[in-house]
Subunit: 435 residues, 2 copies
């Protein structure tokens, strides 16, 4: 952690202010938090022209500094994109409250009652590159779930981010939620020091490149929500319907190849490799996908040779590695060895093989006969997505508002003491009550 | 992480074998896992004499090496303690299966169905000091929840641990679960290198001193279940019933002072400080508790003076810090600043004050009018406890079998592709189905 500086007194003070505001925010009720989001949306709408103008400034400066066209496109916040982002805030306002859900309610003894209730995490630390609409999205998710947030955007977007944050705070100022619940960090030093705010920040959410995520994971003790790699696999089983396999494989690779849930490696059962590849190779070629195969698949017509490095590569592009495997177990071994526990699919008409795949592969998503591109919070019906986590512990997979909460045990008694249960004078009843 | 060595090829190979066995174990059904635990219990019972003899060897050697009496007591595994541990295995066998619980079941579109189902974490890495019965307990919790485990015990207990592990594996050999799902690490080098087995170990469970836990937390990227400190607070509010307050405070401190859920600091509202302390000081003195107070409480008769270091100290002994505070907000600020987010209690007859305390203090447990000593998996009715976590993200607080599982999304379709939804040819229905 040598590269990560200690937090400055000023950063500690700002983070402390966010934390204090978050304590009050955590006690705001559902209606107050909904109303705060509507006020944020209204303030953004009122300042629409100024926000687009601030973004224009960022775009002009970044273009003159030679920012790549793809990044300029992500940086752009025009009136239409802003309107979409504002609609997003109102959408998040309308999502079901993730707080105050009771999933355990138990009488331990007469008059001694235990509850487990969802509560906010506290303060989120969000680090993202380029896209200024991410500030709007994450800020609304944070407030909706009762969390404060320290946000650090890319320097390309600094004028936009400052104008957006000013609008969001102006909105909050007309609500029951303190504007102090949100803060924008502006220097690179601050963004790095954020990683050391253990005790003041409860969860880091990186939104950006794999390199950014990996750097953050390697340099903080605060839990990180997200994933560095998305090396997803599709396995074409011996009992696959080959038309279905080609259709699902094509969609999984080409529907949006830069996404983390696009496949990077195709595993094909030896017994159907010749027939599957004879249909798949021209289909992928027509879709502009370059195939790189092991010796067996090259012998069956795959044009380029793969090396072991290919099994470890997230192309995020129209390139796909292909490997012929002996059976489902060999496919599973390959996935366990090279996968990143994101999303994997089996195409088969054999229900037992599908069940075996779905229960033996330990990725966040395990699919049967459908595209890996469905691995997404919106498609799962969560309404909004914070990110996709490939860690083993929950929250895992596409994470919606529910991933921004934790729970707390509340125990209410009337002078109950443990000694009475140790002595046998009292006994636990452990009666579950209605939730 | 300079002190932590890289895993040896042999350790990597052993951990790989546990991981492979864990994959099969993860597919074992409830009955098979229950039966495996019964077989483990039977094997321990059959070898009871040999186990006690192995422990005798450890005890004799450790005594001659000058191990402290308290540690010798923890090391001891006599016939009665072993019988208790065997009963514990059978109890864990009877606990409700934590696997295969479906908490989301949703039709995304006709024929495209999403489930979220609990699955094992994979492999647990367990590091504990002295107590050999912990091997038995943790191994049974691991197998019950479908997880493999790499266990490392203290060198004082090496004969006992090896004999116990041999018995457990012999039991598994007569069950549907492979004995390879459990492995005992024997050298200190291995136990340290365990911390670097990212990708092979999914959760580290330390059972031992605060120093052990803190060292592990600071030296691994693998999630750690547990807590270093347990600095619990009891706040006597202005509206407290003072008899109740004395009774609950005494139990919270003295019922088992070495426990993490015993209180270390007593916060007293200024308006009741004189009357509360006039009753509490003699009561604590009679119970052998040394009080250390701030200036205001010393002025009211607390015999020793506290310094700021006392607010940060987990005494784990019959010493208690006392501070007079202006109001509930000041108590909450003190807890936020010095607490370890374990368990805190308010004693008050004012329901609104209680609600404010329970919703504004972000500890794993927040209590009203009852002893902090109830913070325990058995007392909560979980049947068995893995440990108590003070981290913000779940699992939090006392953790039972449920803390050893995660979930996986399963999506089943029939050739469904994302492009159809992007084009508008198909639309998501997002119909929730019965769980």
């Amino acid at each position: 952690m040598n590269e990560v500086p200690e937090p400055s007194p000023e950063l500690l003070q700002r983070a402390g202010a966010v934390r204090r505001a978050a304590v009050d925010l955590g006690m705001a009720d559902d209606g107050q938090r909904m109303q705060a989001l509507q006020a944020m949306a209204d303030a953004l709408a009122e300042r629409s022209d100024a926000l687009v103008a601030a973004n224009r400034e960022d775009l002009d400066r970044s273009a003159s500094e030679g920012l790549a066209p793809a990044l300029l496109a992500r940086l752009k916040l025009d009136a239409a994109k802003l309107e979409g982002a504002i609609d997003g805030v109102r959408k998040v306002a309308s999502l079901k409250d993730p707080l105050g859900r009771r999933d355990l309610h138990r009488e331990l003894d007469q008059g001694l009652t235990l509850e487990r209730v969802t509560v906010p995490l506290g303060v989120l630390g969000v680090i993202f590159e380029a896209r200024p609409d991410a500030v709007i999205q994450i800020a609304s998710l944070a407030i909706r779930s009762g969390n404060g947030a320290l946000l650090k955007g890319g320097s390309e977007a600094r004028c936009t981010n400052e104008a957006v944050m000013e609008a969001l705070k102006a909105g909050l100022a007309s609500s029951a939620v303190s504007p102090d619940a949100l803060a924008l960090l502006t220097t690179r030093q601050e963004s790095l020091a954020l990683l050391k705010l253990d005790g003041l920040v409860d969860l880091i959410i990186p939104r950006g490149s794999n390199e950014l995520v990996r750097f953050i994971q390697d340099n903080t003790r605060i839990p990180v929500l997200g994933h560095a790699d998305g090396i997803c696999h599709l396995y074409v089983d011996a009992a696959a319907d080959l038309d279905k396999a080609v259709r699902v494989a094509l969609d999984s690779k080409t529907q949006y190849p830069a996404a983390c849930n696009a496949i990077e490696t195709l595993l094909v059962h030896r017994s159907v490799a010749a027939s599957f590849l004879s249909a798949a190779i021209p289909a992928f070629r027509d879709a502009g996908v370059v195939l790189r195969g092991d010796a067996a698949s090259v012998a069956l017509g795959v044009p380029e040779s793969a090396t072991e490095a290919d099994w470890r590569t997230e192309y995020l592009d129209l390139t796909l590695a292909v490997k012929v495997v002996d059976d489902l177990a060999a496919a599973a071994d390959h996935i366990r060895r090279f996968g990143s526990r994101h999303t994997e699919c089996i195409v088969t008409e054999d229900a037992a093989a599908a069940d075996r795949f779905l229960s033996s592969i330990d990725s966040a998503g395990v699919y049967h006969n459908c595209s890996t591109r469905f691995a997404d919070g919106f498609r799962y019906g969560f309404g909004a997505e914070v990110g996709i986590s490939t860690q083993t512990l929950p929250p895992r997979g596409p994470v919606g508002l529910e991933g921004l909460v934790t729970y707390r045990y509340r125990l209410r008694g009337d002078g109950h003491v443990a000694a009475d249960y140790a002595s046998g004078a009292s006994r636990f009843t452990h009666n579950d009550l209605s939730l």
